[in-house]
Amino acid sequence: MRTEGLYALSSWAEMGYLLAPRATLVLVLLLLPFVLDLYWQRVFCSAGIYALLAIGFDFLAEYVGLVCLGGALFIGTGGYIAGLLNEYFHWSPFITIPIATVLGAGISTLVLLPCLRLRGIYFAIVSFMLPLFAGFIIIALNVFGGTEGISALDTFPNAWVELYLILGAVIVSLFALRRLVNEDMGIILRGIMDNDQAVRASGISITAYKTRAVFIAALLGCFGGAYLSHLYGWLGLSLFAMDFSILPIAACVMGGMGTLVGPVLGAFILTPMSEALRGFGQLRVVLYCLILIGFMVYKPEGIMNYLQRKYHQFEVWEEV
């Protein structure tokens, strides 16, 4: 396992210091459900879904160079597949979710494939358009439940499963991706961003790696979608809503792009905030966007980067 530099860690205390911020966040998240009431527990679950999308977005934007404006595509695909499998085959959520995650990711990646060998702008445009198209097509052809959707899907056995399933997914994704970006694949992806011609001259197919990266981000999103349809026992057009595309982005920018953890933090801040404003209609979305732009223009590093900077200002590391 690689680390970004060579530091001499001479004691457990120092190791602890390095890991403290992340460990705190994880610990807080693990304990939070115990102090929340039922309503806020549901909000917590939503936040988890947005966190998954946010991690995926951060990974694609900062480590692969692709701006994904269509998180809703993943949620919708994962949600619809899981819901449909449950509705027509009556498979339990514990079967539909894994299948929807993998199958959904495969389909999403396939649909995005044509623009992976082109410049990044095409990916942004196509990813933006796809969830909207999915909506149009579902309405137009009146399939998969059309405008009303399908309800009465199976839900989870109890609240604890709901909570810790999504939280587990977030934590696993976080650590897996952090590992990935330090392994060979992460290096190659960074190489593609720095100088893609050299990568091609070194015998690596850029499209192949971008495809893998998109697939990974799609796995996260589709899991979220599949989970969501079983959380409320319902699937419908709102799975492709713009909310799923924009909130993760705002969470990322606010939380600190590139850190992978920052987006999770951002998601857990913005989601409750969005819930609290539910009564005001579309004000939520306007607010996320204002926050997003505000951060981008005035504090582009985001919360996590800011905190890490301040944190590290108080220590001096010896490079061997």
């Binding site: 060979d184 720095d194 050299a198 070194s202 690596i204």
Partner: protein, 252 residues
Amino acid sequence: MAGEPLLQVTRLSKSFGGVQAIMNVSFELAKGEILGVIGPNGSGKTTLVNLITGFVKPDTGMISFKGKDITGLPPHKIANMGLTRTFQVMRPYHSLSAYKNLIVPLNSPRVRKTAGGTLGDIDAVAIDILEEVGFERDARVPYKTAGSLPLGYLKRLELGRCIALRPEVIICDEVFSGLSMSEISSLIPLLEKLRMEGISMMMIEHRLRELFRLTNRLVVLTFGQKIAEGTPEEVMSNQQVRDAYLGTEMKK
């Protein structure tokens, strides 16, 4: 020279908009040789490299490598067959440390195939390669960020990137440019060593004197056309070549 040439370029042509960058160029590269390609600025040398290595598709003509037609193949497929190149405009993976720059080619299908599976400690392999091209191991140079390295090291890094692929042919696009005489002098043994190890090379160069220390066969390009081929003496006594480099004498 026995058997087929390693690399064969036949009647290659390419125009961009109205500009004929390469016209009807043909030549061969034999196994184990270093071929020099020279010519004044703007004669299409880099375009030629781009055409051969798949970054640009030719309008007409054919390129064959190891007997197979590679015309129109994408760069990564050509690289995986064993043909790679350096870049005239130096662009390392600047945010990565030097040895990590080599991780990319070490992950190519070609390397995986020839190593028969995984490479074991890939980092160690990368550092070994860097040492081979002259990075001082004990001064921790391999760990410095590529973006912070001076030009001489960057050139070596480029060669390291090529070597990591275990190629059969390396096309060097002006690898001497920007280096001082002493830096070039220390680079030449490395290139000789590569040739001894069985890597054939095609060197696009401006620094003729240094180039002639490495090779005895040249191709001269002007305005996209090959105007001469042969030993340095033959080529330099060719009137067309002299005109191209020095300009025609003024009529008195």
